[in-house]
Symmetry: C2
Subunit: 362 residues, 2 copies
Amino acid sequence: MSDPKISLSDMRERIDSIDRQIQELISERARRAQEVAQVKGAGLSAIDYYRPEREAHVLRMVVDRNDGPLPDTEMVRLFREIMSSCLAQEDPLKIGYLGPEGTFSEQAVRKHFGHAAYSLPLGSIEEVFQEVAAGNADFGVVPVENSGQGMIQITLDLFLTSEAIICGEVELRVHQCLHSQNGRLEDVKRVYAHAQSLQQCKSWLRLNLPTAECIAVSSNAEAARLARHADDVAAIAGETAGRVYGLKTVAEAIEDRADNTTRFLVIGRSLFPPSGNDRTSLLVTVNDKPGALYDVLSPLARHKVSMNRIESRPAHTGKWQYAFFIDISGHISDEGVQAAVKEIDGNAGTVRVLGSYPVALP
Amino acid sequence: MSDPKISLSDMRERIDSIDRQIQELISERARRAQEVAQVKGAGLSAIDYYRPEREAHVLRMVVDRNDGPLPDTEMVRLFREIMSSCLAQEDPLKIGYLGPEGTFSEQAVRKHFGHAAYSLPLGSIEEVFQEVAAGNADFGVVPVENSGQGMIQITLDLFLTSEAIICGEVELRVHQCLHSQNGRLEDVKRVYAHAQSLQQCKSWLRLNLPTAECIAVSSNAEAARLARHADDVAAIAGETAGRVYGLKTVAEAIEDRADNTTRFLVIGRSLFPPSGNDRTSLLVTVNDKPGALYDVLSPLARHKVSMNRIESRPAHTGKWQYAFFIDISGHISDEGVQAAVKEIDGNAGTVRVLGSYPVALP
């Protein structure tokens, strides 16, 4: 509880004292991180002692401990940046991604590696794989699934022909809302939004505003600005955008796929140990015969391994072959996962472990 | 000194304990920030209790206290983000800037306001001024000086016709270096770089590598990649880029203007109190008569106010009038500054105080 008798300058002095302690601790943390680097061998680059499983573990503890007032996402972001700065005391990590700068892919790089990492915008998803394979980038970040468009086939296909290993996943969530000046759906005659957002919310608009005119503008922020001026105009925009423009929310999560998330994979050259909450991605190639998929899935069920995702692709390696991309819960070093994979491999098909990595953080 | 007998897991436990303390303190800081907001009046937006002079003061203390191992820039960055998160507990600040996303202007927004502020990419510098004036953005960030091109005239001219008040400045520094595989200047036959970087280093190249072939590529990162493959190829790129690509530095700071800085102004709608190390920007309109500039400058000298910058523009307000943009050290509430301005105003010309604001941090 705040004491009303405490003056503003007293409050600021308290904050100054907190800041002094935070700074001492961050410096202390940076020194400890240097010691860890020294134990592992002096003069190395960040890649030599970067441990994604350790980072995921640290961030999960941050979430577990957090009881506000900052939301989990902000607290995780601050710790990500602190770790990013500590790690960049040696040569920073080089992260390749699909450029140009300012895209969702760059946001994913920053969300996962913080701002002290060195990001390399590249021309194509294929180039990201190549630069990681050649060692020019330590890691790459590639989009793999967009809840609007489903799996991104080019990324999956590149796993068929490359040796890339999945070292992490990143999720970016974007919710679309309908905002207006007075918040009343029945008053809306026109809807402004970026063309892509109009597209993403097509079904909802057809159902709830069948006669409204839909007008594409340069951005959703622009749409929110326009909606302030009349009661019969609404804008599609994120929660924050509506709030900062002083609009009322008419409806939330109006995108056709309710969970509007883009999922990215972090690719690298080696497998990391378990973090305590991991996912394993498998590439299973089978011959096209009846029951092939059943033969793949039954060992998983038998060993109580839960499957999170499956996607089939024609394999380019031989006639009548199919490839399944399968995501399961657990790390490849877990007993059950290991046993199930061993049973599938050689019997039902050929298994390649694409990677075991920490489940995405908020 | 690190004790070689301490195991990796002991080290990690120590770091975990440090993290726990950092987190408690950040949460404590966020609670204190809420109290400050409550004292100023409940239910306000971030703009109602954002104090740039206080932030500048806090960050200067961070720099003063810092004795490593993290560099000042990283420590300042982390505290900027912590303050940004604490501030965004209420409605976040809205910052207009010259879009699109991913530009230098956005970097300046992030450097000054952190990642918890809400950034609005706008179509032109003029629009940034308009949105700030209309209250749709709390602040705007506009480029005002590029050491390559000098003052950015459009920004200066907008001050002639708007009521915008300067609330801060941000500097982004970019040093260009020449890097190659073996670091020997005499071996260089070809130089790769982005076209703009080749342009920025033209004089140095003409003087030091008159016969080398200059080849423009898509980015300096791309240039650094290419330079790894042959001893007779060099790349122009930043310090970090050369380092991460394992190249040796042939020469540093080779840009024609040694101090390759872009300076941005933060514009808002009100003047803030002094931070302890401030700059004041004046717009002085004078009639075109002999000695006009002397009459402007002598009161400054008399009151021992040092001038940092001057730029003249034809004023659009009347025939034969000139406008001078003058930056001086100190805050308009300082006695000497106030006295000098009073003497200039009415005698030598008409003075408008464009703003008094904290000097840019590293």
